[in-house]
């Protein structure tokens, strides 16, 4: 019987500051011991931890089409994330996973894809972006809608600005309040979605971000004619075991760590606590 | 009769425009249990009762108010909470007011002068496994207990809670309305504490080690204590983590000593921590040791009035320096 609580060693290859400020976000490029490949599905997460400190569940921000490394974008908030932020390249951390159901991305082939992210919500969506780009011809139109409070809070700025130059996808960035030197949309992400009006024909919409943003994005998508089955989101909860045993991450009778974090809105809407 | 007067006062309190709801006692759901009841204005009050079984302190609910869901949705203009309070409860209220934990004008206190309450463990040992609700009334020094269809007369001392035998203030010290006649306050005495102090250190260590090994760290003693109302308790803080979460004698010792010391000069001996402990740890023995020291070293009694300064925040030049060597 394998021991699901036993973590694997991994080394941090590179760290990159995404945002600074009160709640800085750092992206860690990590390689597992003996170069083991996790071959996770996009949208799955893993327990990232440091011995003597603890673990926390972080969504894997890199796609399985790039198996040589794993990337995690971590916001400095609690005990474990603060300890992680003090780690530099070369240090060893522990990884446990992959956990969760991940996005059913195989079923989305030759469909249009719209990802709608808010703040750090872009991290769980990034594996979709990479997966679609690595299999570009298998997918239809591809829109990336992403916003944050200020330009400084936008993650993966360099990558997204580079993608804006490509013609086989559209990147719509936005910030909440106007700032000097900002040409993109100013306002909340749900309003940006109404402005862009992605067509619901043969389209899958995935949204991640603060719960309040998810609520309004889903509301607007429904207004634009999206059916419940076409809308996916990920939920966030405190998690400790990651395998549906310790009981705390439940929304209704489903466990976010095992039956989630990806939920189709059709299942989500009749869950009591959502 | 006390219950009758209590209902009249409660009706008057609930008819006031500035009272949100009243917290009192009602008969429990089985055997010798008593249960808190929250009565909104215009709700019936006939369930209200007061009997020697009321061994529970209601002061905790005043401190949990901010998390207490308001019963009716519309914004609460009236701000007062009406509360049935016994002598020891009012000492807790005094302390909370003194420490700015709760504002005096937020409370409408119906004081009930108390003649001592029954120890749940003693009565359940005497009449085990009683399911149908039972009644207890006190009559000239005896308890008349009717349960399972029979009635028994038991001398009071046999069932009285130990703390009530050393109770200093049976009559409420602070109230808006008082029910029952005023009884004189009694001097404090700590015989069982003095006795335990004489024991050699090894024996005391063995005793507490055995007790702390039983603790399951359910934190009920902290959660029930009216004076434990910090938003993040040191037991739950992770940055820094003072006490590990694993349960063994050494962590339990650390938890109990921290909890007790945080009540130094504050504890008012309502005995809730000892009453609720599922593993029957003698927690009041620790608290009363500090109470004795506060009295002997600094002549201080906690919860006597809402104005005087808390013990550990005052310094007088004549304070004893025995501990500085």
């Amino acid at each position: 019987m394998t021991n699901p609580y036993l973590p694997e060693k991994a080394t941090i290859v590179e760290t990159r500051d995404e945002t600074n400020g009160a709640r800085p976000i750092k992206t860690f490029k990590v390689v597992l011991e003996h170069g083991r490949v996790l071959n996770q599905k996009p949208g799955q997460c893993a327990m990232v931890g440091i011995l003597r400190v603890g673990e926390s569940m972080i969504s894997i921000a890199s796609s399985p089409t790039r198996p040589e490394y794993l990337e995690f974008s971590i916001m400095k908030l609690g005990r474990v994330t603060s300890a992680l932020h003090n780690c530099e390249a070369g240090e060893t951390i522990t990884i446990r996973g992959p956990y969760g159901n991940g996005f059913p991305i195989e079923e989305w082939r030759d469909k249009n894809i719209v990802t709608i992210g808010g703040g750090i919500g872009q991290a769980p969506l990034r594996p979709i972006v990479q997966y679609v780009l690595d299999n570009r011809e298998d997918f239809g139109q591809f829109d990336i809608i992403y916003g944050a409070q200020t330009a400084n809070d936008l993650c993966y700025k360099a990558e997204l600005l580079a993608l804006q130059k490509r013609d086989d996808l559209k990147v719509h960035l936005s910030i909440d309040m106007a700032e000097p030197g900002w040409q993109g949309f100013v306002g909340f992400v749900p309003n940006n979605v109404l402005r862009i009006k992605p067509s619901p024909q043969n389209t899958i919409a995935i949204t991640c971000g603060p719960p309040i943003m998810i609520k309004y994005v889903i509301h607007n998508l429904l207004e634009l004619g999206f059916s419940e089955r076409q809308i996916f989101t990920t939920l966030e909860n405190r998690m400790k075991c990651g395998i549906g045993k310790c009981g705390r991450c439940n929304v209704g009778n489903l466990y976010v760590c095992k039956d989630g974090p990806v939920f189709n809105y059709a299942t989500l809407k009749d869950l009591p606590e959502f | 009769m006390i219950v009758q007067k209590l209902k009249e006062e409660a009706a008057r309190a609930l008819s006031r425009k500035d009272v949100k709801y009243l917290i009192g006692y009602k008969k429990g759901s089985y055997g010798f249990r008593i249960s808190p009841i929250f009565i909104e204005p215009k709700e019936d009050i006939d369930k209200l009762t007061f009997s020697p079984l009321c061994n529970m302190s209601l002061v905790k609910y005043v401190m949990m108010e901010e998390t207490l869901p308001t019963l009716t949705e519309q914004a609460m203009k009236p701000s007062k909470i009406a509360l049935v309070a016994r002598g020891c409860d009012t000492r807790a209220l005094n302390l909370l007011i003194k420490e700015k934990g709760v504002a005096r004008d937020k409370l409408y206190i119906i004081g009930v002068s108390c003649t001592g309450v029954i120890d749940q463990r003693k009565i359940e040992a005497r009449f085990p496994e009683v399911t149908d609700p039972a009644d207890v009334i006190e009559e000239n020094g005896n308890y008349i207990i009717t349960c399972n269809g029979q009635s028994h007369t038991i001398p009071k001392e046999e069932l009285l809670a130990d703390l009530c035998t050393v109770c200093q203030y049976p009559t409420p010290l602070i109230y808006d309305k008082l029910i029952g006649d005023k009884a004189a306050s009694r001097p404090a005495h700590y015989d069982e504490i003095k006795e335990f102090e004489q024991l050699p250190v090894e024996e005391k260590l063995a005793f507490w080690q055995q007790q702390f090994s039983k603790c399951i760290r359910c934190y009920a003693c902290r959660n029930v204590c009216p004076l434990c109302y910090s938003t993040i308790c040191s037991m739950d803080s992770l940055n820094p983590q003072w006490v590990w979460r694993s349960v063994d004698t050494s962590e339990n010792f650390m938890f109990q000593i921290i909890r007790t010391f945080h009540l130094a000069g504050r504890c008012i001996s309502c005995g809730e921590c000892e009453r609720v402990c599922p593993m029957n740890l003698p927690l009041m023995k620790l608290n009363r040791k500090l109470e004795k020291d506060a009295k002997e070293l600094f002549g201080y009694e906690s919860g006597k009035d809402p104005e005087s300064k808390p013990l550990l925040t005052t310094f007088h030049s004549e304070d004893p320096q025995g501990f500085i060597l």
């Binding site: - | 000593i257 040791k289 020291d293």
Partner: protein, 54 residues
């Protein structure tokens, strides 16, 4: 009061020592430290509440 509570719960009072030593009283500081180490050696290690080594 903490000292009395610890003694009450079985911790030998010699284990807790509080004293005021100003920065200039180097010698007094050294004396107190040697004194307390001798006391501790005399009563031996406190096994009861030791955090279990893993």
């Amino acid at each position: 009061m903490l000292r009395n509570l610890l003694e009450f719960s079985g911790i030998n009072p010699l284990r807790l020592r509080m004293s005021w030593v100003s920065a200039s009283e180097g010698k007094k500081f050294a004396d107190i430290i040697t004194e307390i180490t001798q006391d501790l050696k005399s009563i031996g290690p406190q096994k009861a509440y030791l955090r279990k080594a893993v």
